[in-house]
């Protein structure tokens, strides 16, 4: 059983289990599945309420979301230790080839560790991938009112037009950076 669980899980399994998280949270306590709101709750919990009206609300009522994200961290730990898979991610050959041409050299882990490491934070390239990228995730998800979970999964599954528009914009933004910007960053 453990051996079976250690293999990478196929996309239909992941899709069904992620999809079921939505009704599970609704039925456990009327909670809409969404993760980027945790950024706001953490800011609201750490900053004085006078900082900005956006952080002045009863974040304690949203504590469940913080329990949820701590759970994700623990889940990540379990998946990478007890259930760890020693094999590299089996990505499409064409993707691997494209990334090698750009200059990615590390393919043995979940992340390209030549880009995502503390040392690369001191390089312009690493700074863009890690710090600028992180900033855009925090600023963008809050401005858009949700992320992949809140809009692309919860919102779309509830037939919200705004979520469809947001999801299309997530994808357009990703295509632009992948095709036009990332090749330039690798030249830095």
């Amino acid at each position: 059983m453990l051996e079976f669980l250690r293999q990478p899980w196929a996309w239909p399994v992941a899709g069904v289990l992620i999809g079921l998280t939505v009704p599970l949270l609704y039925l456990l306590g009327n909670k809409p599945f969404g993760i980027s709101s945790s950024f706001r709750h953490i800011c609201a919990a750490c900053l004085p309420a006078s900082t900005a009206p956006y952080f002045n609300y009863n974040w304690k009522k949203e504590k469940w979301n913080l329990f949820f994200i701590v759970g994700i961290v623990i889940g990540g730990f379990i998946a990478s230790t007890l259930l760890a898979n020693p094999e590299p991610v089996k990505i499409a050959a064409s993707t691997r080839q494209d990334l090698e041409l750009l200059g990615v050299t590390q393919f043995s882990k979940l992340e390209p560790t030549d880009i995502f490491n503390f040392h690369s934070l001191h390089t312009l390239r690493g700074f863009i991938f890690i710090v600028v990228g992180g900033f855009l995730v925090g600023f963008g998800t809050r401005y858009a009112g949700g992320c992949t979970s809140g809009h692309a999964i919860t919102g779309l599954s509830n037939f919200q037009l705004s979520s469809l528009i947001a999801t299309i914009c997530f994808m357009v933004g990703g295509f632009v950076v992948t095709w036009l910007v990332i090749p330039l960053i690798f030249k830095l």
Binding site: W9, W11, P12, V13, A14, G15, L17, G19, P23, L28, G29, P32, S36, C43, Y54, K61, N65, F67, V70, G71, I72, I74, G76, F77, I78, S80, V89, I91, L110, E111, P112, N117, F118, F129, I130, V131, V132, G133, G134, L136, V137, G138, F139, G140, T141, Y143, A144, G145, G146, T148, G150, A152, T154, S157, C169, F170, G173, F175, V176, V177
Partner: protein, 151 residues
């Protein structure tokens, strides 16, 4: 606080009661990492249109969640506390477009949306703590500028 991501439960919850969301998070984190959707490589495959994998995951999740939602509505299934499930409406505003594009840029760079950031930290990719710190800073700046931005 506006509707998005809002807790709709009327009954208040204790620390112990909140632990069930910790368990859901653990389950979810395991799924995220074991299916490799947290991987930068998988996000690159998706944006390069070179694999169906991520489209399959997200598409299946949306269909499963939508069917579950329809069942909950049709049979008026109540929450554990006996409350009616609230499916919040998300009115459109310009942030869906501008913020959506900005998040898309960040998603392609970091290869991680918010859930995977937490999953990767747990998996030992500790540099994602820097990604998280930057994301929190981005949220802070958004909070300060919010009134001045088009919505």
């Amino acid at each position: 606080m506006e509707e998005e991501g809002k807790n709709h439960q009327q009954a208040s919850e204790s620390f112990v009661s909140n632990l069930k969301y910790l368990l859901v998070g653990i389950f979810f984190g395991i799924v995220f990492v074991k299916s490799e959707v947290v991987s930068w490589f998988r996000i690159q495959e998706m944006f390069r249109l070179q694999a169906f994998f991520m489209y399959g995951v997200i598409g299946t999740a949306v269909v499963v969640a939508a069917i579950s939602g329809i069942i909950i509505k049709k049979f008026k299934i109540k929450t554990l506390q006996g409350e009616e499930v609230v499916f919040s409406e998300r009115p459109f505003d310009k942030g869906n477009i501008i913020g959506g594009l900005l998040f898309g840029f960040g998603w392609a760079l970091t290869g991680a949306c918010p859930g995977p950031i937490y999953g990767l930290i747990g998996s030992g990719f500790l540099v994602f703590i820097a990604v998280l710190a930057s994301a929190l800073f981005g949220t802070f700046v958004y909070g300060l500028l919010r009134e001045k931005l088009p919505h």
